[in-house]
């Protein structure tokens, strides 16, 4: 898989909409394709966050392992970003991420992209804006879920 086809794959991702073609080229230069079979881990809690993922097909789960097995916190499907621990030090994963179906993802090298963002802060700003949007969406839905909407005591 060469950089051109990675570029084409990324250009088709709605999660990267609003970015300019040149931006996609820059990101694609840091990416490679990977396939994770169902059950495989994309990350482990407390590992170094050296990359993040753009899920093309399949579905992954954010998990926290407990003494009685993993608890699923969120599932993330196709055309979505996974991972932002790579953005800030200490660059460590907080959750396990496991493929729950066969998952095709573009894996982006974090140091590579951070360097490009630092070198071209206008580009960096556009990338951060995209990530901020994803983070805000996730935070908002998570806050609504905190209400335990379907629990007893909530009218419906």
């Amino acid at each position: 898989m060469n950089a051109t086809s990675i570029r084409d794959l990324l250009a088709a991702q709605p999660v990267l909409r609003d970015l300019e073609p040149a931006d996609i080229d820059l990101i694609a230069g840091c990416g490679h394709n990977e396939v994770f079979p169902a059950g495989a881990f994309l990350t482990h809690e407390d590992d170094q966050a050296n990359h993040f993922f753009i899920v093309r097909e399949g579905q992954v789960a954010l998990e926290m392992h407990t003494s009685t097995g993993p608890l699923l916190i969120d599932t993330i499907g196709a055309r979505n970003l996974v991972g932002w621990s790579w953005l800030f030090p200490p660059y460590r994963w907080v959750f396990d991420v496991a493929a729950i179906q066969t998952t095709h993802a573009v894996v982006i090298d974090a140091a590579c992209l951070r360097d490009k963002c630092d070198a071209d802060t206008a580009f960096g700003y556009r990338v951060m804006k995209r990530f901020a949007q994803v983070i805000v969406d996730r935070l908002q839905t998570t806050r609504v879920r905190l209400l335990d909407l379907y629990g007893a005591g909530n009218a419906c």
Binding site: A152, G153, N154, A155
Partner: protein, 378 residues
């Protein structure tokens, strides 16, 4: 022109009217002085009325006073309205018995007698017309209300004694009796005479009067009598200084649901439900399903309810929608004066002023509306 006549001896005329109504099987109900207030009770004759008494009403104030004459109807409305009889505060809807393999319904416990209401003011008749829209004219008429309403006979009184709390003039519901009556009385009390001008409003009203005319002294009504009536109601109209403009209130309240005045009134309102219980148009009710101790007999009881209670807006298994006084007062006033129009095409207020007099905190809805209209947020 309305058929009309004058009963030349007022008290005797009322006696005979009550007797004629009683002979026709009516339970005759009218104002009676009890516990310092004009309440509605069964009347035996004119002497049952608060003869020579009047009332004084203001915000959080209701007092009765002696007059220096023998007037029969010289007072405004008391705390009760015919609503109490047409849609009683408590009634059993049905009962059921546990039987093998289930349960079985039994009939309604009691069927009230037909009522004849004597001394009904125009605002009361307007209120009954409002309740008709709710309980009679909707998709699911309340059978007991429909029956009571159909049977009821109304002897209206043109109001010559509005209280300071009254504002029917601005609401367009009084003080003259113009609709909904079988008979309309105007009490003509002068130095030399105590007469009743009687106008006939329905066929059965005419039949009753024919019977009354055969037993008491009367004379045909003159233009002078009719002029005297107009004079009385015209004077009442100008004496009412409280005002509420129905369509202005409707528009102002719905446009100001977050007005700071709601917080202000919430600091004064006790959520005591008095206003809703004295209101002649409030219709909220609750049903309670009760069972005997052994569980073999169950009953469904309907009773008056109030939007000022917490339970009124409770969602099953969750909390109340309107958990604070601000939201409950706002519900009451916006419903009464604004959304009532959406639901029934009229205002839910007839200007009787009861909610002002009987509010222990002296909250005056005309003043609340005026305050919101003065300082519109829009």
């Amino acid at each position: 022109m309305t058929a009309s006549l004058v009963l030349t001896a007022a008290a005797q005329g009322v006696d005979e009217l009550i007797a004629a109504l009683a002979r026709r099987g009516y339970c005759v109900v009218g104002p009676r002085l009890r516990d310092g207030a004009m309440v509605l009770e069964e009347l035996q004759g004119a002497a049952s009325l608060p003869v020579g008494w009047t009332d004084e009403q203001e915000a959080a104030t209701y007092r009765v006073h002696r007059r220096d004459d023998r007037a029969l109807f010289a007072y405004a409305v008391g705390p009760q309205s015919p609503r109490r009889y047409l849609s009683p505060p408590r009634k059993t809807l049905w009962s059921a018995l546990r039987i093998e393999g289930g349960f079985q319904f039994e009939g309604e416990a009691d069927e009230p007698p037909p009522y004849a209401f004597v001394g009904v003011k125009a605002c009361e008749l307007a209120a009954i017309a409002v309740q008709d829209k709710v309980l009679r004219d909707g998709p699911y008429p309340d059978p007991s209300y429909v029956r009571a309403r159909q049977q009821a006979f109304f002897v209206g009184v043109n109001c010559g004694s509005p209280a300071a709390t009254c504002f029917c003039t601005s609401m367009g519901t009084g003080p003259a009796v113009e609709a909904g009556h079988d008979l309309a009385i105007t009490e003509l009390l002068t130095a030399g005479a105590h007469e009743l001008l009687v106008e006939i409003g329905s066929d059965r009203g005419g039949e009753v009067m024919a019977e009354v005319q055969s037993t008491v002294s009367w004379r045909p009504a003159t233009d002078g009598d009719r002029e005297a009536k107009h004079q009385i109601v015209a004077e009442s109209a100008v004496r009412m200084t409280r005002r509420l403009e129905p369509t202005v209130a409707r528009d102002v309240l719905i446009a100001n649901l977050e007005h700071p005045r709601w917080d202000d009134v919430a600091t004064r309102c006790l959520s005591c439900t008095n206003c809703t219980l004295v209101c002649p148009t409030c219709f909220c009710s609750a049903v309670e399903d009760v069972s005997s101790l052994d569980g073999d007999r169950a009953e469904r009881v309907q009773r008056w309810d109030s939007c000022f209670t917490l339970g009124h807006s409770t969602l099953h298994g969750a909390g109340s929608v309107r958990g604070d006084t601000r939201s409950r007062y706002r519900q009451w006033l916006t419903h009464k004066l604004s959304t009532w129009w959406d639901q029934f095409g009229v205002s839910g207020c007839v200007g009787c002023g009861r909610c002002i007099a009987w509010c222990p905190a002296g909250i005056d809805l005309t003043e609340e509306v005026a305050a919101i209209a003065r300082e519109k947020e829009q």
